[in-house]
Amino acid sequence: MSQAVDERHETRDTDLDDEELRARLSKTWGTARGLIGILSTVDHKIIGIRYIVTAFVFLLAGGIMAIIMRLQLARPDSHFVDAELYNQLFTMHGTTMMFLFGVPVGEAFAVYLVPLMVGTRNIAFPRLNAFSYYVYLFGGLMLWGAFALSIRPDVGWFSYVPLANLNFTPGKGPDYWAQMITFTEVAALAVSVEIVVTVLKQRAPGMTLDRIPLFVWTMLVHSFIIIFAMPAIMLASSMLIMERLVGTQFFNPDAGGDPLLWQHLFWFFGHPEVYIIFLPGTAFVSAIVATFSRRPVFGYLPMVLSLIAIGFLSFGLWVHHMFVTGLPEIGAAFFTASSMAIAIPNGVQIFCWIATLWDGKPVLKTPLIFVLGFFFIFVAGGLSGVMLASVPIDTQVHDTYFVVAHFHYVLIGGTVFPLVAAVYYWFPKVTGRLMDERLGKWQFVLAFSGFNITFFPMHLLGLRGMPRRVYTYPAEMGWGGLNLLASAGALLFFASFLLMLYNMMASARSGALAGDNPWGADTLEWAASSPPRPQNFDRIPCVTSGSPLWDQGDDRAVVGGLKVDERELVVTSISEARPDIREESPAPSIWPFLAALVTALAFIGSIYTPWAITWGSSVVAIVLVAWFWPKTIEENV
């Protein structure tokens, strides 16, 4: 090895002035041009944006499904779509919103924001991150591609057996559904592992456990919930596809199986799933409430403990989805109690946010306005959830439009409103430009009124006997008026998203320039430039308080001594975040993309023959070896 090369690799950030350091680091951490470069990138920001954009495309697709369903239900005895198509529509709507939008969008924001917030240069295992994105993308494309080719699942997003079995649902629809589940869960699990490790090991020096931003705490708990919940659905969906393809008997009561086993496994995942979707919403709320009140969120410790409590309790609720399956009474009573108990940590969180607003000086910008909408809607949804926790009440409203209303209040109120707030809030960080405030407020008016007009009447419909998943209803039932109202509201609500889309596109081109920290926020992502450079930070910051940008002023301590021409980042100790190792972060690679591709092909093949798994996995193995095989001698030290 020549002396010159040696020297280049030994250049440290302390040797350079700010300008040159910035340029050299951008080159080291940058993404190459061209198709190969685009597909090889491991930059968490680029992957994060792809994740977010993809999730929003699926949101739009799921929304269009919803609009078609609302048009069908607007009038009784309607023939706008037939039963077959309607069943496909609600299956695709639920599946898309849950698996292709709800879960990924929260993780997408975490992929983009968590490394910035903890002050590191890339997410842990960035190649796995790229892999997870492609797997998610291919899973979504597979489901929608099959849909376009008229191979459509039509047994609901929950695919209850025996309806989803081969003898009641021939055709490949449920197989595509089951494989898509496996796909997106692989992606979700990979991202969770990355987030857990990033938060535990890559925090900036000085960011002790009690200085971790609430956003990051939330995403940590969120990731742990995924780690413990998603294996259930992967197991279940694999069992379902084996039942359909190779004739296993897990769910067949005539051969020692039990259809309720599917429901137990599905809801063991399915209830934590609600919190998997909802927790990112609370993460957004914590960040936005603090910034726009100019106060740290009141009660940091109760907030963190509530998050952990939610994480634990979310695993003790699944049976409340099965109250009408004829469970033993004592079991039902237990799950009523635990389902009500989770209202306590949620109540604590709501209290702390309102207390923060009360103490601070709220600035009513669009992000905060959407968060206020969140309070209005989510609290209502949470309280109707307490009603559903009660077995007797549940026997009347289970599987009716009351439940539809409830979970849209919780999921749209709890996640989508904060999500829109988050888009307005972080848009300037991502693009360098602010979104239009006036349009934002109009969007709120549309979204808030549209949402409530759509979903409030559904409570009444459910109580008045309208079951879920019916493609039509007779005029004499008297449900026509409320349904028409709900459909009108749905159009308003949908329009609000088109307005947001317009606002985003217009603002990205000609919005007001934002600067690094347009809202005067306190977390580290606002210390990076807008948009952030590939290296995130020219010098890794040191943290001395929970609100570094508010407390430390301009004299921010930094880390020195990292190599400039290699992708080096600081690994710190778990609780006190003392610098421990200068670890090499993997460079861009095409192999994650190729691995995702062959995995996707193997999975699609397995829908048609089980042997695809055998052949596929050997190809996948070869690709994985190529992925991990060190390319240079430098990767060894």
Binding site: I354, L460, D522
Partner: protein
């Protein structure tokens, strides 16, 4: 004489379940169904199209529009159902009436009360559930109002000084802690109270069926209900259950194919029909009337049309009906022929088969 309404005889799954014949000859419809799986989907689509062309028939199939014969008999009763004010006056002012009062409010929003409503209880169990529902609604509605009021004051509170550092002011920490403690305590108390009420209400779901006057087996099929009156003189009907007013009825729920859910909101909460399992539901009607219900668990293509009617008759009338049903098979065969003839004229399937010929 016993007659069958159109909704009983015509069903979307008719390829597998040819209406009255299957009930009388006890054809195992489920077995046929499995065999005819493929053909059926096709047929259903045809039926869809047929209904699209003949909207009046589609209207009848939903089961709520009585046939001419039936109408003559039931005009008065049907008229009475939506007439809310009339009913409220007729009712004794007891707690049950109170329970349905807010239902009236809900009904006003939409114009009328349907006959398939959890808020329009006509049986002991549904009454208890409605009362519990309104208690929960009142308490939780109050919680919501208090929270929103807190949010409102937090936003509109007058703020004096400007230019404070971005940190919680020490002065507010103490009152805030007190408020926090108060919030936590009241949350726990409210939730515990509601949980206790809920446990108490579970009796309305789990109470045992001892002393039931009649046992009826309900067997779910895609997409109709087979109803079997158990006992020595057992007989079967489809999509219709007749019960005597004021007697407890024990309903055994099983399924021949996929999961369904049996739900007559005016009488009781719902309960699933699960393969390999038998569930029991107890219902009792206070007043004569027709109570509609429908399958509440998604069960395939025509899930929306899987309706069932519970008709509560005066005990004497019920006994007369039951005696007629339990009469020897010869009479039944005769009846069957009659209804087949009657339905052939107007049945969509007759039309279909004609067309296919």
């Amino acid at each position: 004489m016993h007659f069958r309404r159109p909704h009983e005889t015509w069903n979307f799954g008719t390829a597998a379940c040819p209406g009255p014949l299957s009930q009388l000859w006890r054809v195992d419809a489920a077995k046929q169904k499995n065999a005819a799986d493929q053909a059926e989907g096709e047929e259903c689509r045809n039926v869809e199209a047929w209904f699209a062309e003949n909207p009046d028939i589609a209207f009848q199939t939903h089961g709520s529009a009585p046939s001419v014969l039936y109408e003559a008999l039931n005009t008065e009763r049907d008229r009475r159902v939506p007439d809310l004010v009339f009913r409220l006056f007729r009712r004794a002012p007891n707690w049950r009436a109170l329970a349905s009062l807010p239902a009236a409010a809900g009904a006003l929003v939409s114009g009328c009360t349907g006959m398939q409503s959890a808020l329009d209880p006509h049986g002991e169990r549904a009454d208890a559930l409605a009362v519990l529902f309104w208690i929960f609604t009142a308490v939780l509605g109050l919680v919501w109002l208090v929270t929103m009021a807190g949010l409102f004051f937090a936003l509109t509170r007058r703020r004096d000084s400007r230019g404070e550092p971005a940190q919680a002011r020490p002065a507010v920490k103490r009152p805030m802690r007190i408020a926090f403690a108060a919030m936590l305590t009241s949350t726990v108390i409210i939730l515990s109270g509601l949980a206790v009420l809920s446990f108490d209400g579970q009796r309305a779901v789990y109470g045992d069926g001892a002393g039931a006057a009649i046992t009826i087996s309900v067997i779910g099929h895609q997409w109709w209900w087979q109803v079997r009156y158990e006992g020595n003189n057992g007989f079967e009907t489809a999509n219709e259950i007749r019960i005597p007013v004021g007697s407890a009825v024990d309903i055994k729920l099983t399924t021949s194919d996929v999961i369904h859910s049996f739900w007559i909101p005016s009488l009781a909460g719902k309960l699933d029909l699960i393969p390999g399992k038998s569930n029991e539901l107890h219902i009792q009607a206070d007043k004569p009337g027709v109570y509609r219900g429908q399958c509440a668990e998604f069960c395939g293509q025509q899930h929306a049309h899987m309706a069932i009617f519970v008709e509560a008759l005066e005990p004497s009338e019920f006994e007369r009906w039951r005696a007629k049903q339990a009469a020897p098979a010869r009479t039944m065969a005769h009846l069957a022929k009659q209804s087949v003839v009657a339905s052939a004229a107007s049945s969509p399937f007759a039309a279909l088969s004609e067309r296919s010929r």
